[in-house]
Assembly symmetry: C3
Homo-oligomer: 265 residues x 3
């Protein structure tokens, strides 16, 4: 199995040609498209989507490409993860650029067992474009790994401690006030914030959002009246601000990365 996540969108043939390259190199590989609608060049959103999805996928090769630095000196990576004693169902290899996209997901799978910088080899397509490493490097390398080629033949070992990491701003409680940030907004306008079940419990039945609107604690969309602002645990286990039948992001004027203050009320 090769899972595939990118910011390529489906409005061009970029995803299709990567599928074709994989099928040519490793016909037996099954490809699962996780999503290709990561906002263009938004490494943080891609990293989050990858972390959220991988626990649900079979073990295998996890190809992820959100790569604003394509063609520059940024490194290309293959990371071995999973397969530990914690009952995960097998070895997993993450393939993609060294810009923080892969590392959070690898941490969640039990940490990085080995990291390799991909180096030019006969697996890379020739000619190699400067703008589409998804097709020319990452897809064929993912296929080669799925076909059983050892990572040591595809690159050189690098120190996992020196890989690029995304900065994070951890949520903070101050009395009744939680200061946190918007992690993601989905296409329905549901706002996913950096907070979990214990935070939701501490907020109680009702919270002021940024000192303005009030959100009522709920379990499901269907608990709300039309137009009512709810806070609930979303399918990734995070606190989400949602409005049944409307866009909470629009009503609250929130974008990804924005600061959110939730005050128990």
């Amino acid at each position: 199995v090769i899972t595939f996540l990118s910011d390529y969108g489906l409005a061009d043939g970029y995803v299709g040609v990567c599928h074709a390259v994989i099928a040519r190199r490793c016909p037996a590989a099954r490809i699962i498209d996780l999503t290709h609608a990561v906002p263009r060049h938004d490494v943080r959103a891609g990293a989050l989507a990858l972390r959220d999805a991988l626990p649900y996928t079979p073990a295998g090769v996890h190809l992820a490409v959100v790569d604003p630095g394509v063609g520059s000196a940024r490194r290309a990576l293959a990371l071995a993860a999973g397969g530990g004693d914690d009952g995960d169902d097998g070895d997993r290899t993450l393939v993609g650029p060294d810009n923080g996209l892969l590392i959070g997901a690898a941490d969640d799978l039990g940490g990085i067992r080995a990291a390799f910088e991909l180096t030019p080899s006969a697996e890379w397509l020739d000619p190699l474009s400067a703008t589409f490493h998804g097709r020319d490097i990452f897809a064929p390398i993912a296929a080669a790994i799925a076909d059983g080629v050892p990572l040591a033949q595809l690159g050189v070992p690098v120190d996992a401690a020196l890989l690029c990491r995304l900065e994070t701003r951890p949520p903070q409680w101050d009395g009744d006030l939680l200061t946190t940030s918007v992690l993601a907004i989905d296409s329905f306008g549901n706002v996913s914030v950096d907070a979990g079940r214990p935070d939701l419990e501490r907020l109680g039945a009702r919270a002021a959002v940024n000192g303005a609107a009030f959100a009522r604690a709920a379990t499901a969309f269907a608990d709300g009246r039309e137009g009512e602002l709810l806070m609930l645990l979303d399918s990734a286990g995070r606190v989400a601000l949602v409005i049944n039948g409307d866009s909470a992001a629009e009503q609250l004027a929130l974008a990804a990365g924005a600061c959110v203050r939730l005050a128990a009320a």
Copy 2:
């Protein structure tokens, strides 16, 4: 084979993670995405798309999720259909919410042979979210059925006569006038109305649409001049109002569910 239809869209990772869950539970299952562009929460449109598509699919498990009531008390269903003496090519099982989404398609496949309400089991994902039963209940159940688990192990029998059904407003002829409604509008603005070949023949060469524009009977798009309003049998065998190179829905100001009066002229 598992076919999959939903209103999740492709702008988020919802479809991808359902694929992943299925591949984990039943690696041998092949998934065919029928469409994920059903208008959000439009059970009627989803039911129609499912009815139109299933006669063309191989027999198997048919997963369909358009589920505005997720997290509420609405039941989750698995319906056995097909496999009768009428030459259909095998048993089919429909999986989805009890809101009318599945039942029209099941009727078209020869009727429901057995209906089961899905009940909590080890097949359901744990933890179970309140907002994403596609991932946590319907996808793994579809995979379990594809893997050979009998329906009786996944739920309890229910009376098919008591399942939710969508209300329908049947088309009516009054002399030369057919009063009917818009069933669907596709992304090109073609308007599919609740009428078939005999209705088209009875309308003759030309019909007034809602007392205003005239539509000429035709066979194919290419029969019309640029901008000409045509009425023809669409690929689902229904009367469609179309304009070559334009949106008939926009020109006629018609939306799904709208009333349409067609008068032979």
Copy 3:
């Protein structure tokens, strides 16, 4: 392997039902979606996308449907190509309408070895719609070919020299001035023009675009400052006008088919 390219989009169930039809006729066939976002009825754009993609795909059946003439007298084709002495990896068969969509890609694969006009057979779906030959003719024929049915059983031989071809306007150099045209614009606004590596080298370090903006020669997006217009070789080996983080098409007011004059400067 069956690759599939169309202008159906993913906003309706058209692509899904074609997958279903193929899976029913040839369950062993693997389908690779190249793209379904060809601009509606834009045969030229579809032909280009097909040419660009096929060199990356495994050999097999290549289904392509951009078919404004569906339901008219335009012929349906299956073209045998590839499999020559030039090291291509196997026989390829292109299936689609006779409107110029397939022929450029077939030429690039070493030329047409045999051309057949598809004629009614038991492989065509019954009833046959007048508006959706993708589902009723092209998809089942592609599946039949993948299943091993010889082309001679599906149609009659036709003279390849008499197939429809798209007119092309070749690029022209006049001293330092290259007059050419826009071949395609992708969803990021990158403008692909009909010119290649030798043209880029002849233009040198900088070129005036249509006598107005200046484009700097570069290798990758990351070479440009925010907002800077670059010209580089894109992933199809063509000269592209791009702006890092912006739409070059919008800034230069260029559309597909537009004339572009590039003057070394």
